[in-house]
Structure formats: structure tokens, C-alpha cells
């Protein structure tokens, strides 16, 4: 009889894993404890051994696909058997937590009087439901012990009445057409997260971008002098963040977050700095940014950027920023229209300072002009305020003494 092996929790709190490589195929014979698949978790690539002997009838996921704990990994049975079986039999299950006969009641959190503990779903499934705007209390679980699976949530999301566009509902899909011939590559986890965030920002936030440029002569001189004095590299990002902080104090709306009909002003600055990594752009977050002296800030940003490139940062070092600075100068960037990261209101993009002719005192001079692009949420900030913000920022960047004291 076919035996189903579901993805087990192989590490503390594992919720999902990506199938890297199958070591067996359908029709292959496997022995007990023979490794059948390599999966990648947050921690490492792990070979998973099969608890059953027999012939592989079904593989639960394609290579590159991510599956949740509790979902079917592999089905093993007798030679000649087919899967799914003709009659609905309940195959023995190894690898999931046994469903307890009794669930401890959780204290109701008041309000709607619904017991929060009634819904059985894995954290990833809960997250998916939140993202799709599905109320788990109204979904019937098809998993073991009535557990709600990812499929249940997807099905519920599809049948949900279209009242208002769901938070991160899939973009309107064109009618089915022939798949494009060509190489198909699954996006990495990071790429998928970026994609989700970009879609969310683009749908929710009415963007405005204002452009300007600043003479960076004094800023670059100050940076060189500081590096000479202290004998260590000071990333330009650190000076940019320092220059922005007093402007944010003066215009706190640029850190205010829209929450329903309210604006929430954070207690402290947590400035995010965009870092280009081989796998994609990441924003590292400097907690209590306002309290750090310049040198500490410089070191902190250097450390975090390195951590981002090595993928050694904790999630809380990559989320929760109140404002983002994206210095694309190293890549030769000019003006752009940055997208405001979800959960924030504004982002500043800074390009490379290139020598350009400028008119000053009726004369033409050459100066390193640094392009600035400031995108912000037009629900919160009007154009006039955007101009005032960038004008004050330019004052600071032109005369570093204004923000270094």
C-alpha cells in the first residue's frame, strides 16, 4: 500500500524548505533511510532519508519549488501500484506532528469572541492567508486533523468575492496563452520577496518623485579629510544618512506611516541603507540611527553591508526602516524613480557626483554634481513639502558643517 512521507520539521521551527535536487525518480526502488532528496532550509542543504522501502510512486514537488512542513514530499509503494490510489484510502503518515485528540483552548482575545486557537494552520499558511486577505476562520481544512493547507487558502482566495482588490492579490492575469518557449528559471527566495514588496508598494502608494542635484565639492572634501584623520574608510552612505537625519527631524512626515486613517510617527530613526548584493538588492537597517556618532555609523553600515552580502544578517536587521537611503553612485547611477519600500513613506536615491558645468555668479564653473531623486507617498506629503525637504537636504550636503556638528 502506498505510504506518504511528508516534509518533516527537521530544525527548530522549520516551516518550509526548497527542493534543491531529487536523488531518486518515479519508478526507482528505495530502501529504508535511503536519502531521496536534498532540501535547502534557512540553515543548510540537507539530505532527507525516506522512512519507507519500496518503489517511488510520486514526487511532491519539482526542483526549485518550496514546500511547507506537512506537505507531501514523496509517496512510496509496491511495484505496479499507481498514485493517487483508485480508492481513497488513508495512507500511514510519518513526518508530521501527530494531531492531538484534544486542543487546549486558547484564551479568547476579546472583541469578536472567536477562539483564536480553533484554526489549525502552519505559520506559512497563516502568513499566506494574511497576504491574500483570507479569513482562516472561514476556511475548511483538508489537511490532517482539519489543518488548513496552502491549497485550501489559495482556493479560498480564488472564490473570495471581489469586494476590493486584495492586498497582494495576483496581478490581473491575461487570458491563458501558449507558454513562451525558452529557458525557465525559478526566482530565488530573495527575488520573490523583492517582487512581492515592489508590487505591494506600487499598488498601494501613489508615488511622486522630485529631482535635483547638489554640488558635492565640500561633501567629498569632508569625507576625504575624515578618512585621512581616522585612517579608516567612511562610506558615503554614512555621510548621506547624517545629512538626512536633521531634515527628517524638521519634516517628520517623511517617516510617518499610513495606518488606516492614521499617521504613525516612529519614536526613533531607523534608517535603511540599500546594499547591492549578488543575489539582489537588500536594505540593511541601522537601529537608533540618530544616536550614533559618524564613525560608529560608518562602521555599522560597513558591517551590515558585509553581513548582507554574506547573508548572515537576522531578519530584524533587514526590516523596519523608517526611511531609506539608496546610494547608486558606485554603479554610476544618475537620476531615477525609486519605489518607496512598503511600510515607509519616502526614499532618497543618490547618484554619482560627475563633474558638470554650472552657472555661479554669472560665471561658468565645473563642479562635481550629485543627482538626487526623492520619491514619497503622495497621500502623506504634498509637492511643496517635498521641495522644501530636498532644498534643506541640499543645504546640508553643500555645507557638511551644518550636519556634522
Amino acid at each position: 500500500m502506498a505510504q506518504t512521507f511528508r516534509l518533516p520539521d527537521i530544525g527548530e521551527g522549520l516551516t518550509e524548505a526548497e527542493v534543491v535536487r531529487w536523488l531518486v525518480g518515479v519508478g526507482d526502488r528505495v530502501e529504508v533511510d535511503q536519502p531521496v532528496v536534498e532540501v535547502e532550509t534557512d540553515k543548510a542543504v540537507v539530505e532527507i532519508p525516506c522512512p519507507y522501502a519500496g518503489v517511488v510512486l510520486h514526487l511532491g514537488a519539482a526542483e526549485g519549488e518550496t514546500i511547507s512542513v506537512g506537505e507531501v514530499l514523496v509517496v512510496v509503494g509496491e511495484e505496479g501500484e499507481t498514485w493517487p490510489p483508485d480508492e481513497a484510502e488513508a495512507p500511514p503518515v510519518v513526518g508530521t506532528l501527530p494531531s492531538t485528540s484534544q486542543t487546549l483552548p486558547t484564551r479568547t482575545s476579546g472583541g469578536d469572541g472567536r477562539a483564536a486557537g480553533r484554526v489549525k494552520a502552519l505559520p506559512v499558511v497563516r502568513r499566506l492567508a494574511r497576504e491574500l486577505g483570507v479569513d482562516l476562520a472561514e476556511v475548511e481544512g483538508s489537511g490532517p486533523g482539519g489543518r488548513i493547507t496552502r491549497e485550501d487558502v489559495l482556493a479560498a482566495a480564488e472564490t473570495k468575492p471581489a469586494e476590493e482588490p486584495a492586498e497582494a492579490a495576483p496581478l490581473d492575469v491575461e487570458p491563458a496563452r501558449e507558454p513562451i518557449a525558452g529557458r525557465r528559471v525559478r526566482m530565488s527566495n530573495l527575488r520573490r520577496v523583492i517582487a512581492r514588496n515592489m508590487v505591494r508598494s506600487w499598488r498601494e502608494i501613489p508615488h511622486v518623485t522630485t529631482f535635483d542635484e547638489v554640488d558635492a565639492t565640500r561633501l567629498l572634501e569632508a569625507r576625504r579629510a575624515l578618512q585621512r584623520r581616522h585612517g579608516e574608510p567612511i562610506p558615503l552612505d554614512a555621510l548621506l544618512v547624517k545629512a538626512v537625519l536633521p531634515v527628517l527631524d524638521e519634516f517628520p512626515d517623511f517617516e510617518a506611516v499610513v495606518d488606516g486613517d492614521d499617521l504613525v510617527y516612529p519614536d526613533t530613526h531607523r534608517i535603511g541603507v540599500a546594499v547591492d548584493t549578488p543575489e539582489g538588492l537588500m536594505v540593511v537597517v541601522v537601529p537608533e540611527t540618530g544616536r550614533l556618532p559618524l564613525l560608529d555609523l560608518a562602521r555599522r553600515i560597513t558591517q551590515l553591508a558585509e553581513g548582507a552580502r554574506n547573508r548572515t544578517l537576522d531578519p530584524d536587521q533587514l526590516t523596519g526602516q523608517t526611511f531609506t537611503v539608496s546610494n547608486i553612485g558606485a554603479l554610476g547611477g544618475g537620476h531615477g524613480t525609486p519605489i518607496v519600500p512598503p511600510g515607509t513613506t519616502a526614499i532618497l536615491s543618490v547618484g554619482r557626483a560627475n563633474p558638470k558645468p554650472i552657472a555661479r555668479d554669472a560665471k561658468i564653473e565645473i563642479a562635481p554634481m550629485m543627482p538626487l531623486s526623492l520619491s514619497y507617498d503622495h497621500r502623506v506629503i504634498d509637492g511643496g513639502q517635498g521641495r522644501r525637504f530636498i532644498a534643506r537636504l541640499i543645504e546640508n550636503l553643500e555645507e557638511p558643517a551644518l550636519f556634522l556638528v
Binding site: D33, V94, P105
Partner: protein, 346 residues
């Protein structure tokens, strides 16, 4: 460093036991390795919680446990299942303990092995207490305690050795120096050249032994046990060995040590040298090996079956495992749990 059997299976001293016992201990090492690999597989199938493998340390554990009397005390850690099993701890309870079942921590009364210590180092003082209590009661039972190189940096190591030294307690301190305290190498653990030399400060003999040499481990442990039983006091043994696998199933050793080091230790496999020794004396051939392995696998399978067929524990059972009569705060917690559950059923 004491050595009797080289990695290539050459005897460089006198064998401490005859061929029959050698065969028995070899079989035991095969069972231990089979158990260890099975547990790693079970963990990856979600059937065990985090598991700490001991592959590579079989000789240190089987060789030392073989030098004990059946009723001597053993106080060991999460990585010492082979030694505990050799001293009579039922294998199914070792497995059950790793599923998180409290009953895995309650061996039968006649087994003088404490459940494995998860806390690093804290258990060494328990071993000293047991050995001292036996002394006070006029018995000749001794205690052995197992710990790793990392545990020698804990304060409890000092307390245990100091007390045992001062009172001349019959306790054998068996350190399996496997080179790594999770990701910290032995060289970063202590400025001492060896761990064995720390014994001098506590006024007891310290001996360093090739921990992958079944013969030498047995021999030095037997001498330490004899000393302890004769009332001559404790001994510190440093068995130099190597953990071939990860610290636990949640660890990726590839991040902190290189493959060459592991390969080098593979060549010093504790089973292989005994296999060569037996083979050269006509007591080993491939058919026999297959039979030994099959028997070992069956014994391990049986233990897993037993552990997995235990009926699930009831929620309140957790209160019963520790005290003869539970203290008040635990009785209160138990009452609260019962009320809570009664409310849920209503």
C-alpha cells in the same frame, strides 16, 4: 599519549583483553554506529528532536564503559548514548528521550545511569556526589562521568575536580576531547597544552589516551576505576578523539572546519583498526561483518519500534519525572493545568 593499537591495526603493547572480549566490544561498536546513523536518519524524517551524533567516538565510549562493573554509576551527556547503552540504559529509552518523551529519562531501577545531561558541565558534580555517597555508605561502587573538551571551561568542572580531589572521591572524569566545542576549536578553548594536565592542579593523576584506540581506552579506564574502587581517589582521563559529524543535526560543520581535517580523522576510524586486528587473527571476514551489521540494525530497529509504540504521554505526566514528592510550586502548576484542561473540555 597512551596508545596500544595504531590506526593501521598494529599492536604496540600488550592487549588488555583476550580475543573473545575484543570481538564483543567490536560488535558493540558496530551497534553503536548503527544506532547513531539511525538516529540521524530519524531526525531528518521528523521522528526525533535535535540529535547530537557521536560517530567517531565509539571506542572512547564502548572501551571506557567496558571497564566498569555493571552497577557502577554513570553520569553522561547528550552525546554519550553508546556508553550509556553499554552500561545498561535501554536503547528504546534513549530513543524515546530524543523524541521529547520524559519517560526516556527514567531508566529501570537497577540501571545506575543518570539520564543524559543537556546542560554542559553541570552533571560532573552529580557524579562526584554519587561517588561520595557510595563511599559514605561503605560501598565499593564508583562513578564515571563523561564530558567534552568544551565542558572543561565551565565552572562546574573546577568544582567537581576540586571536591573529588580534596575528598579522594572514587570518581573517574572521562573527557572526550573531540576537537570542537560546537564551532570552537580545542586550541581556542584553553591555554593548557593538554586537558589531562589540568589534573595536576587538583592533586590527581591525569592521563591522555588515544580516544580512538579501544585497547588503550579500556586499559587506562580500568586502571582509573581500580584506583577509585581501592579508595585511592579520582583520575582525569583525556581521550583524544574526533566528532566526524555535526555538533547536532541543527549544525553545519562545513562552516567552521575544513573537509581535509575530517578526512584525516576518517583514516583514524576507531572501528577500522580493531577490524584489521581481528582479521589478522582470523576472527573477521566480510560475511561475518555483514551478519554483525544486520544484527545491529535489527537491534536498533527493535528499539525504535518500542520507542515509537509507547502510548503518548498525558499532559500532566511532565510533573512526575523529577521528584519523589513534588514541591509546592509544581503541585500548584499541576492544579492550574488540570483546571485549565477541565475548562477546555466543558
Amino acid at each position: 599519549m597512551r596508545q596500544l593499537l595504531t590506526p593501521s591495526g598494529d599492536l604496540v603493547g600488550e592487549a588488555p583483553f583476550g580475543l573473545d572480549l575484543c570481538v564483543r566490544l567490536y560488535r558493540a561498536m558496530v551497534v553503536a554506529r548503527s544506532y547513531d546513523r539511525k538516529c540521524v536518519a530519524l531526525q531528518k524524517q521528523g521522528r526525533l528532536a535535535t540529535y547530537a551524533p557521536f560517530e567517531g567516538q565509539e571506542a572512547a565510549q564502548i572501551g571506557s564503559a567496558a571497564a566498569l562493573e555493571p552497577d557502577d554509576w554513570m553520569v553522561a551527556t547528550y552525546r554519550d548514548a553508546a556508553a550509556m547503552w553499554a552500561q545498561g540504559y535501554p536503547m528504546e529509552l534513549l530513543v524515546a528521550g530524543r523524541t521529547g518523551d520524559e519517560r526516556g529519562g527514567s531508566p529501570p531501577d537497577h540501571v545506575n545511569v543518570l539520564p543524559p545531561s543537556i546542560t554542559v558541565g553541570g552533571h560532573m558534580v552529580h557524579a562526584v556526589g554519587l561517588a561520595w555517597a557510595e563511599r559514605l555508605q561503605g560501598s565499593s561502587r564508583i562513578a564515571i562521568t563523561y564530558f567534552g573538551d568544551g565542558a572543561t571551561s565551565e565552572g562546574d568542572f573546577h568544582e567537581a575536580l576540586n571536591f573529588a580531589g580534596v575528598y579522594g572521591v572514587g570518581c573517574v572524569f572521562f573527557c572526550q576531547n573531540n576537537g570542537w566545542a560546537i564551532s570552537m576549536p580545542r586550541s581556542a578553548q584553553t591555554a593548557s597544552e593538554t586537558i589531562a594536565q589540568k589534573a595536576i592542579a587538583y592533586g590527581m593523576p591525569g592521563v591522555q589516551v588515544d580516544g580512538n584506540d579501544l585497547f588503550a581506552v579500556y586499559e587506562v579506564t580500568r586502571q582509573a576505576v581500580e584506583r577509585a574502587r581501592a579508595g585511592e581517589g579520582p583520575t582525569l582521563i583525556e581521550a583524544v578523539t574526533y566528532r566526524l559529524g555535526p555538533h547536532t543535526t541543527s549544525d553545519d560543520p562545513g562552516r567552521y572546519r575544513d573537509a581535509g581535517e575530517v578526512e584525516e580523522w576518517r583514516r583514524r576510524d576507531p572501528l577500522e583498526r580493531v577490524r584489521i586486528f581481528l582479521s589478522e587473527r582470523g576472527r573477521w571476514d566480510p560475511e561475518w561483518q555483514a551478519e554483525v551489521e544486520e544484527k545491529a540494525a535489527r537491534e536498533v530497529e527493535r528499539a525504535v519500534e518500542l520507542a515509537e509504540s509507547l502510548p503518548p504521554p498525558a499532559p500532566g505526566d511532565v510533573f512526575g519525572g523529577m521528584f519523589e514528592s513534588p514541591p509546592r510550586h509544581l503541585r500548584e502548576q499541576q492544579a492550574t493545568l488540570e483546571l485549565y484542561r477541565a475548562a477546555g473540555e466543558g
